[in-house]
């Protein structure tokens, strides 16, 4: 008897008991259920929640693998800066992989175990089925945190994010805020010393502070915010050989993920495109302000404002946020026109926060959370506008 049969038997055995949703979830996660719908009308589609989730995870896998190598690479490159002379040659090495896996995989495991644990507990208390909602969140979380975040902090944050961000609103599909970003925002405000500065982006930097062989790794945004010249070229940044949160450094891989999501019609191209336009627009405005001479060198905003406008898309987590989190179908706007407005404002506000708030060097997290809150309002006005337009047309016809 195979595992599937065993699981099915267990499921039947526990039917109607408290633990039933747990076995059900395990069964449907691993296999197609044995039961089929018998009555009523139903839609046949290959595209269920589980497959949607799996598609996004597939799009994230390259970022994860790259992140593992990058974690090792940044550590060794911080110790021996000659490695940076030939990033590609020194990147895909076993040393990097082993160190990276050693630091990144615990984050992934903690994220999934804790998050799914909370989901299971809530499913049992509320007596509903476990939903697949955490699958993507669980993969996003380790990719958007600094490499050395203590695991207990991640645990606290994941519990907070899943309970306050999602379960109190009624679970998957009912949440207002993106759960992965809720988790990150919690970490950011609760433990700022672990989430920003120049000591958190490279493995070991914080532990070795004050020692003679101390290392550090400032992100490009961090350097610019302090008006330092970043040590990385824009191409390093595009390929991803830079310090940053675990999986967001490689714009190239994010671009591939974006194409994959657009091709499979899982991610909305409207949101991605309009967010890019929004970021470019704000970047252009700032460039214009600098060109007009209103902001001079020496001003505390000069570094970020004078950065060439399209660089904003490549540095920091903006691209990752736009592709994987702004497009979250639950928290984004639902109407097509709404998606344009929603996306545009995300890009626009991200760059705005980036430049004007040195305490929040990455604005995309706060921008997406803010627009999550406004998404239903945008939809409301788009729908009302449409109704008004059609009423007018109807009146013109009947008159």
């Amino acid at each position: 008897m195979g595992l599937k049969q065993n699981l099915h038997k267990l499921k039947e055995k526990y039917k109607g008991t408290k633990m039933a949703p747990a076995f059900n979830a395990l069964h449907t996660f691993l296999y197609t259920p044995n039961e089929t719908t018998h009555s009523g009308s139903h839609v046949r589609s290959a595209d269920d929640l589980k497959r949607t989730m799996n598609t996004v995870i597939m799009a994230l896998i390259p970022c994860l693998i790259f992140g593992i190598f990058n974690a090792g690479y940044q550590h060794y490159a911080a110790i021996d800066s000659t490695l940076r002379l030939d990033p590609l040659g020194n990147f895909f090495t076993w040393d990097n992989f082993i160190l990276g896996a050693w630091t990144v995989l615990p984050l992934v495991i903690v994220s999934y175990v804790v998050g799914l644990g909370v989901e299971f507990i809530f499913a049992i208390i509320k007596k509903h089925e476990v939903e697949e909602g955490y699958l993507v969140t669980g993969m996003l979380v380790p990719l958007i945190v600094p490499i050395d975040i203590p695991l207990w902090m991640l645990t606290v944050a994941v519990i907070f994010g899943v309970v306050i961000g999602k379960e109190v609103f009624g679970g998957t599909g009912m949440n207002i805020l993106n759960p992965a970003l809720t988790i990150r925002a919690f970490l950011f405000f609760a433990y700022p010393t672990w989430m920003s500065g120049d000591k958190v982006w490279v493995h070991g930097a914080k532990a070795m502070t004050g020692q003679p062989d101390a290392i550090s790794g400032e992100t490009i945004l961090g350097s610019l915010a302090q008006n330092h010249e970043p040590i990385y070229s824009i191409w390093d940044s595009f390929w991803g050989f830079i310090p940053g949160s675990v999986g967001e450094t490689s714009t190239f891989l994010i671009l591939i993920g974006a194409l994959f999501l657009i091709f499979t019609k899982i991610g909305s191209w409207r949101i991605m495109l309009s967010a890019v336009l929004g970021a470019l627009a704000m970047g252009l405005i700032f460039n214009g302000v600098v060109d007009a001479g209103w902001i001079k060198d020496g001003n505390s905003f000069y570094g970020l404002m004078s950065e060439t406008f399209w660089h904003h898309l490549i540095i920091g987590g903006l691209a990752f946020g736009i592709v994987y989190m702004a497009t979250d179908p639950v928290t984004a706007s639902q109407t097509n026109k709404g998606k344009w407005i929603y996306g545009f404002l995300i890009g626009f506000i991200s760059v705005l926060i980036r430049v004007f708030n040195p305490a929040y060097p990455e604005g995309v997290m706060l921008a997406i959370l803010l627009m999550n809150v406004f998404a239903p309002t945008i939809d409301h006005y788009v729908v009302q506008g449409n109704i008004k337009k059609r009423m007018k047309r109807l009146k013109a016809k009947t008159a």
């Binding site: 207990w152 902090m153 109190v168 433990y191 010393t193």
Partner: protein, 215 residues
Amino acid sequence: MGLLSKKDSRLILDPLADNNPITIQVLGICSALAITAQLKASIVMAISVVFVLGIGNVVISLMRNIIPSKIRIIVQLVVVAALVIIVDQVLKAFAYELSKQLSVFIGLIITNCIIMGRFEAFALANKPWRSFLDGIGNAAGYGVILIIVGFFRELLGSGTLLGFKVLGDPITKTGLYAIGYENNGFMLLSPMALIVIGLIIWVQRSRNKELIEEN
């Protein structure tokens, strides 16, 4: 209870739990979010409101038959303002540091909805003794939530209680801090107070299903 009749004791006990001004009526949220980062401030605020609402209810109740109803809000404001100024001056005289920390929020007791609410809803229609009990009860119900929120925010946010380092010293790394524990800075920000109050509301309503509102 020998001292109070059953009806009277309900005046005090109801607002503590099933008719709590903060968690059920959702009044007085503003100050509950603003000053609960420290337990000490929460306690002082709770005592101040007990004083103001207890005495204020009695004064309004004594005057309830002579206040013209058209100007009753102004009269209520005068009473409350007088009492708040007394509290403010006492704090400034005997606990200056604390009064600086509470800053405008003592003054803003005047605008605390719970106080005007009890004047309007209870003191204007009841005798002084019962009004006094109602005032004490409602202010205590407010205070209890403040103290619970203040307890968790100070413990998790600063690792102290009433200023004592109960979890160890974060700088010399003793106690919990020796094993890598860190204070949760989010607890010191007001949004977290709202979430803590939300959690209290959640716990209270899931223990007593009758409190869940229909919608």
